[in-house]
């Protein structure tokens, strides 16, 4: 099998797109859809698919392979909890290398690309996103043997006074860069362990116009997150402004010895933050 044309493409694109979103929908391409009848028929998805996955087959799978947790209705459009959980083994021989999150009708549909390794223990990630509009949300897993597996769910946008922008941008900017890395409970040797990374950041889409200057506010959002345990990568994330204000990631790592969990965060202004945590697993 031809290996990983997608990876090559994303790496090249990633270099060019350091300060721009992962992929932006063409103007006017956003559809006003109200129903979730045909996930494969979504026009945006066809475009995303063609540019990111070319003609590679993508297999729709069930909960036994890949779980996508998403609410049927976005209660608060600015903070919608989403989880992608692979049920496949995460071994050196056979593992999920990547989980891509696509929100068809957001201005930047490719919301996040998470890369995993056997040191991750599990390819399992939970975060929060903005949902602009009635939309399919998709999780696409890529396996080490080059397969693409997908789950899709339809999320209804919240109506009324709920909107994707942050609730208090001034407060968010004031606490910019506070970072928390946490592992709860007892850590057991060689068992996949849940960790949480919280980053205080407005994750501003830059889509709002300043009414005085008629200029768009500068886009500023968390661009990459790299987490390693004892120097071995467990999670690499390319993120976008579809991720909610104060990005929050829950993920796993596999401690094979006592060591240090480190997180490196870089935003679109190239400002970097670090956090680390010593972990002492018990046998």
């Amino acid at each position: 099998m031809n290996h990983n044309p997608t990876r090559r493409r994303i790496t090249a694109a990633g270099a060019a797109l350091l300060a721009s979103p992962l992929w932006v929908a063409p103007r006017g391409a956003r559809a006003e859809i109200k129903s979730g009848d045909n996930p494969d028929g979504s026009a945006i998805w066809q475009k995303v698919r063609a540019s990111f996955f070319e003609n590679r087959p993508i297999v729709n799978v069930g909960d036994d392979v890949l779980v996508l947790d998403a609410p049927g209705r976005a209660e608060d459009a600015a903070v919608v909890p989403i989880a992608m959980r692979s049920r496949l083994p995460q071994t050196a021989a056979n593992h999920v290398t990547k989980l891509t999150l696509v929100i068809d009708n957001n201005p930047s549909p490719i919301s996040a690309i998470f890369a995993f390794t056997p040191h991750s223990g599990r390819a399992d990630i939970e975060t929060r996103v903005r949902v602009d509009e009635y939309s399919f949300v998709r999780a696409i897993a890529e396996t080490s043997d080059g397969r693409l597996l997908m789950r899709a769910r339809f999320v209804k946008a919240s109506g009324g006074c709920s909107a994707p922008p942050g609730k208090d941008p001034q407060a968010a900017l004031a606490s910019l860069g506070k970072i928390r890395l946490r592992v709860d409970g007892d850590v057991v040797l060689n068992q996949a362990t849940l960790a949480q990374l919280m980053i205080s950041h407005p994750n501003d889409s830059g889509l709002a116009m300043d009414q005085l200057t008629r200029q768009f506010t500068p886009r500023r959002y968390v661009r990459t997150v790299n987490v390693a345990y004892d120097g071995q990568p467990v999670l690499s994330a390319d993120l976008d402004f579809s991720i909610s204000e104060n990005p929050n990631l829950r993920f796993y790592f596999l401690p094979r010895a006592p060591g240090r969990l480190t997180a490196d965060v870089v935003d679109s202004n190239q400002v970097a933050w670090k956090s680390s945590l010593d972990v002492a697993p018990t046998a």
Binding site: G160, S175, D210, S244
Partner: protein
């Protein structure tokens, strides 16, 4: 023949009576909204206790009119462009003085999407200093919801920004009547503004006070709980909430909201302490505290979401 003449006469009679009975009802004229005068010169249109949706025409927020000897102030412009026109028609019936100020209490669609009906050279739009930024960030979503849900294709002009920004307090003189406007720290939203009429001691609390309609957190839960005692200290004879009936019971009218928000705070903190995830908290934080309120199924889970995202950063 006689019968036809009789019908014709009847039709003429009706035509003659119509203008006096309903002067605004010529073809295409907006039907005026219902108004009640809660104190001399202080009028309120009470919106329905419901979500902002086409079934009620977006008519859910309470709207206010305060009339001075020189001019009048309008408090919030209505939930759709059409509702704004009906609101203006009601105002033109109620007073002959011009509208010099439209006060927008915060950037939510049910309160501001009627503004275009009031634009003109002699009318100033007044709001919190943080209002324009909040509205600019949300305007595309409001226009999209109008198109998607209401079938109303509104031009971007339908979004009207303020030209007078209130930071702290500001007085507006309507002629023999002074209004005190106050912008608050982040509570229901980051751009809440209240209006107090000194002459009648009427407080327009807008969405810093919900009655019957479950309170909605779109700003800061702890901030809202800090603002409420300061609101309670205002010497008001009656309060007009943003949603729900006008009440003479002040500050007693705050009590149910306070109980709900305190329970939301307590229970969300407990969920965080139990290391629940956001999705788990939304499913489990009890809505017992929400019993007795309307629109719980629509807004309680959302409130838990907002509270969780705020409180997880507490030390």
């Amino acid at each position: 023949m006689a019968a036809a003449l009789h019908r014709l006469a009847g039709a003429l009679l009706v035509a003659a009576l119509l203008p006096a009975a309903a002067p605004a009802q010529d073809a295409g004229a907006p039907m005026p909204l219902a108004l009640s005068e809660v104190a001399p010169g202080v009028h309120v249109h009470t919106g329905q206790v419901d979500d902002w949706q086409p079934g009620n025409g977006g008519d859910i927020a309470n709207l206010g009119l305060i009339v001075g000897s020189r001019c009048a102030a309008v408090i919030d412009s209505g939930g759709t462009p059409e509702l704004g026109r009906r609101w203006r028609a009601a105002i033109e019936r109620a007073t002959r003085v011009p509208v010099c100020f439209v006060i927008l209490t915060h950037a939510h669609p049910d309160h501001v999407l009627g503004s275009d009906a009031f634009t003109g050279p002699d009318t100033r739009f007044v709001a919190s200093a943080k209002f324009n930024a909040a509205l600019a960030a949300r305007a595309p979503y409001f226009l999209n919801a109008l198109a998607r849900d209401f079938g109303v294709k509104a031009a971007p002009d339908a979004i009207v920004y303020s030209s007078i920004a209130v930071d702290g307090t500001r007085e507006l003189d309507l002629g023999e009547r002074v209004l005190v406007l106050q912008a608050w720290p982040t509570a229901h939203t980051d751009n809440d503004l209240t209006v107090y009429d000194r002459r009648s001691r009427t407080l327009f609390a807008s969405d810093l006070l919900f009655a019957q309609h479950l309170p909605v957190v779109d700003g800061n839960l702890r901030g809202w709980l800090r603002v409420m005692p300061q609101l309670a200290a205002i010497d008001a004879a009656r309060v007009v909430p943003g949603h729900g009936p006008v009440s003479p019971d002040w500050p007693g009218a705050l009590q149910p909201q306070q109980a709900y928000l305190e329970a939301l705070l307590r229970e969300t903190r407990a969920a965080l302490k139990a290391r629940k995830t956001l999705a788990e908290a939304v499913d489990s934080v009890g809505s017992a505290a929400a019993s007795g309120w309307q629109l719980v199924e629509r807004f309680h889970r959302r409130n838990v979401t907002a509270a969780f995202a705020e409180l997880e950063w507490e030390d």
